[in-house]
């Protein structure tokens, strides 16, 4: 009998408020995202690492699971319905995938002209995507980990205070080799970051 071997650590990084990250998780590997200070939206996109057109699809994911919010057991599917990753642990309890990412242009629509030059997720997504060989048309509707966007039976949708808290985490298991693109949201005009964007920690394991 040999003692259990700790899984190989692939990375352990802190992503500053308003910064991003692009990395690969091998099939069977895990990614844990830790909301270090609480109420921090982590905008996330997933791609099949070998064929990036086979990318995360929010609407196919929610239709396949029959419910709007993501939590433990949610299978994060691609446009071809392939499982890209599964949420295997979630101490927060609920995550959004219908609210999209902020952009300078949508900030103007939502909050007015004075926000046009504020930093926004799409700029971060694009900066890391382009560096990784992707481009604008590769961006799609994302996951917002730790973000609370309740839908109502009457068809309403609101952005509310986060359900997260300091130290809460969510953990994904890669179901194939995946690329993960993250924007640690810089939005300061709504409660998604508690009006105070903060760093998050990313922990990766090979198994």
């Amino acid at each position: 009998m040999s003692a259990p071997v700790d899984p190989e650590v692939l990375f352990d990084v802190t992503v500053a408020a308003g910064d991003g990250w692009l990395g690969e998780i091998p099939a069977g590997g895990r990614l844990r995202i830790v909301d270090l200070h609480g109420n921090q939206a982590v905008d996330t996109l997933l791609y099949d690492a070998r064929d990036t057109a086979n990318r995360y699809s929010a609407v196919d994911t929610v239709r396949a699971q029959g419910s709007a919010y993501l939590t433990t057991g949610s299978v994060l599917r691609s446009v071809r319905l392939d499982p890209l990753a599964t949420i295997v642990d979630d101490t927060c309890g609920r995550h959004d995938t219908l609210g999209g990412a902020c952009a300078k242009e949508s900030n103007v629509v939502r909050y007015g002209e004075h926000t046009r030059h504020q930093h926004a997720c799409r700029s971060t997504f694009l900066r890391y995507a382009v560096a990784g060989g992707l481009e604008k048309r590769d961006l799609t509707h994302n996951i917002n980990f730790f973000m609370n966007v309740p839908l109502t039976e009457a068809g309403g949708l609101t952005f509310e205070d986060g359900v997260s808290a300091p130290g809460k985490h969510v953990e994904l298991r890669a179901e194939r080799d995946i690329l993960v693109l993250i924007s640690n949201c810089p939005q300061v005009n709504n409660p998604c970051n508690g009006y105070d964007p903060t760093p998050v920690r990313l922990l990766g394991w090979a198994s």
Binding site: A53, R55, S57, A58, V59, D60, V62, R63, G66, S67, A68, Y69, T71, V79, R80, L81, R94, L98, G99, G100, A101, A103, K104, E105, S106, N107, V108, V109, R110, G112, R122, K136, R137, D138, T140, H141, V149, P150, L151, T152, E153, G155, G156, L157, T158, F159
Partner: protein, 238 residues
């Protein structure tokens, strides 16, 4: 013909169509049968990397459904189209459209066997149409599924419930282009429609020339966010 300068086209069920819709023109879609669907993609005709962004459209207007007089917004914060009227106050945009796997329950179908009655998924139909415009899988975005109602439950998981019988023949929706658009849509049944038989209903499209949103337009008055998206479209039309 719709009138001297407009036109009408009936898209059969289980098919796809695309058209250029000029700023100010209207596109009226009418269901030709029960449970008709038009799953629609929208692109700015002069920059097709600018396209409908359903999350931006919904969150800016605080809605989980599409209804008049909402504005359909691009990822660049510009109005693409306004929903000027509809017989329904609920059109889905959060549950996507059928893919090939959704058709398995209807049994095998191909052109050789079924000729032009072959069963194809909305995804397959949309992609065929996109390829014809030099676009493809990377250009897919969340569709507006006209005539479909999927209600989120108020429960902890947000359970989604397809509402059968939401649409009957004659139900309609009208869009007005707020900039020149490439419009692509498919009429395959929605994948959450539990119907045992493949009986896709067609959609009548009527295109008519017109003017962009006037100053007193209901879409402009709907919300400040809607007005700002319309203003951004106007600014770039100058």
């Amino acid at each position: 013909m719709a009138d001297a300068s407009g036109y009408q086209h009936d898209v059969p069920g289980g098919a796809a169509w695309s058209l250029i819709l000029r700023r100010g023109s209207t596109l009226r879609l009418a269901a030709l049968g029960a449970d008709a669907v038009a799953s629609m993609l929208l692109y700015a005709a002069d920059d097709r990397w600018e396209r409908l962004n359903v999350p931006d459209t919904l969150k800016a207007q605080m809605s989980a459904r599409i209804h008049p007089p909402m504005v359909l917004m691009s990822d660049m914060g510009r109005a693409l189209a306004s929903v000027t009227g509809s017989s329904s106050d609920w059109h889905d945009a959060i549950t996507g459209h059928s893919v090939d796997a959704d058709l398995a329950r209807f049994g095998p179908s191909d052109y050789g066997r079924d000729r032009n009655g072959w069963r194809r998924s909305a995804r397959s139909l949309l992609l065929d149409e996109l390829y014809g415009h030099g676009l493809g899988e990377r250009d897919l975005h969340a569709t507006v599924n006209w005539f479909v109602k999927v209600r989120p439950g108020g429960d902890e998981r947000g359970t989604l419930g397809y509402v059968p019988g939401h649409t009957a023949a004659g139900d309609w929706v009208c869009l007005r282009a707020e900039q020149d658009l490439l419009v692509v849509f498919a009429t395959a049944p929605h994948p959450l429609d539990p119907a045992a038989r493949w009986r896709p209903a067609g959609v009548r499209a009527v295109v008519a020339p017109g003017d962009p949103a006037p100053a007193d337009d209901p879409s402009r008055a709907f919300r400040a966010e809607s007005a700002r998206a319309l203003a951004a479209a106007e600014r770039s039309a100058r």
